[in-house]
């Protein structure tokens, strides 16, 4: 569900901190440095990185601008190879049977079984292409606000980690407590009260 879809989900963030130096080049450098790299021909199961909003399958931040109006617009891409468990099992049993016959034993140790499984996953992940998941981002730098177009927990966590690494800025996810704590309408006394409030029972 991207920014341009007919139905969207949005997780809102406050960006804590400011970029020192030239804003556009610092952000572009961060996007370039942590842009997604292809894992289709390497034995890696999952990867994530920034990609371009307009061309998410071939990111190139040198040629594509990440600015629309006064906003930074780009995407997070998470590529994952989904190897069906049944395929892993098929290769695993075949390999284990072969190994038992070769060594003339009835059982394999836990370590040997793990090594076989890891090798099979590496072997299969070279042959199975990664499925890309793309999540759009709209960053209003002047307002310290960022919208992430997904409510998925894993994708949100990936965004928070990658954003901090790329721009050395912290994202504060907005939920009931943080929204109250960051509200400009509350004074110091109100903030103290916030730490002590407990749920209301509307009916006895």
């Amino acid at each position: 569900m991207g920014l341009l879809s007919s139905s969207v989900s949005i997780t809102r963030y406050k960006v804590n901190g400011e970029i020192s130096g030239d804003l556009i080049s610092t952000i572009t450098e961060g996007l370039q440095k942590y842009s997604i790299t292809d894992i289709d021909h390497v034995p890696v199961e999952k990867t994530s990185g920034w990609t371009s909003f307009e061309n998410p399958y071939m990111p190139n931040f040198e040629k594509t601008s990440c600015i629309i109006g006064t906003y930074f617009v780009f995407s997070l891409r998470i590529d994952k190879k989904n190897i069906p468990a049944k395929i892993i099992k098929k290769f695993y049993i075949a390999e284990m049977t072969k190994k038992l016959a070769e060594s003339d034993r009835e059982h394999l140790s836990r370590n040997e079984k793990k090594t076989i499984k890891d090798n099979i996953i590496s072997f299969l992940s070279l042959r199975i292409p990664a499925a890309p998941n793309i999540y759009d981002i709209l960053w209003n730098y002047e307002n310290y606000s960022l919208w992430f177009f997904s409510n998925q927990k894993a994708a949100n966590e990936e965004l928070e980690t990658l954003f901090s690494k790329s721009f050395k800025l912290k994202l504060i996810r907005l939920f009931p407590y943080t929204m109250a704590d960051l509200s400009k309408k509350l004074n110091d006394k109100d903030h103290d009260r916030l730490t002590t409030i407990s749920p209301t029972k509307f009916m006895d």
Binding site: L3, L4, L138, F175, T200
Partner: protein
């Protein structure tokens, strides 16, 4: 500051109370909601509401959905001590309509359907449509933030226990 996941769980009741308060406001003081943005014509609970009721350490969830579904059963759940945990709203402004869902514990906005925008026919259209979409999403986000700001200001003062809770209780029993 406590760990963020602890704060999330410790204070999710605020989101549930906010949605319950918002339903109360829609029923009793819609003028206030309509006054927050000059062109809003209506703001209503749409076709889905989820309530949670903790009874003797057992959690009961009630979902009411459907375009013609009444809210009587939802009100009954409130009378038994329930709170609203998720709700779908519709907002009309001018000739346009927005529909969206708010989940209480996170205050995340999901299934947000803004009015239709023009289709992208050429690459040059993208910037204009992104800006139009931004404006359409911002309308909902600004409204939800203004409502939550108003709620939290009341919630953390004595006014909540002395005035709001008795009024909400009266509304629940009405």
């Amino acid at each position: 500051m406590l760990d963020i996941s602890i704060l999330y769980n410790r204070y999710k009741f605020l989101g549930h109370e906010f949605l319950t308060w918002l339903w109360f406001m829609i029923d009793t003081d819609k003028k206030y909601i309509l006054s927050l943005q000059k062109d809003i014509l209506s703001f209503e609970i749409n076709n889905r509401i989820v309530l949670e009721n903790s009874l003797d350490n057992l959690i009961e969830n009630i979902t009411i959905k459907g375009d013609d579904a009444g809210l009587e059963e939802a009100k009954l759940s409130l009378q038994k001590g329930g709170v609203v945990t998720e709700c779908n709203f519709s907002l009309k402004a001018g000739d346009y309509e927005w529909k969206f869902n708010i989940k209480g514990e996170s205050l995340n906005i999901s299934s947000l359907k803004p009015p239709e925008t023009a289709q992208i026919e050429k690459k040059e259209d993208i910037d204009g449509i992104v800006l139009e979409k931004f404006y359409l999403y911002e309308k909902i986000i600004t409204l939800v933030e203004a409502l939550y700001d108003q709620f939290i200001q009341i919630r953390i003062t004595n006014k909540w226990d002395k005035e709001s809770v008795p009024m909400i209780k009266k509304w629940i029993l009405s």
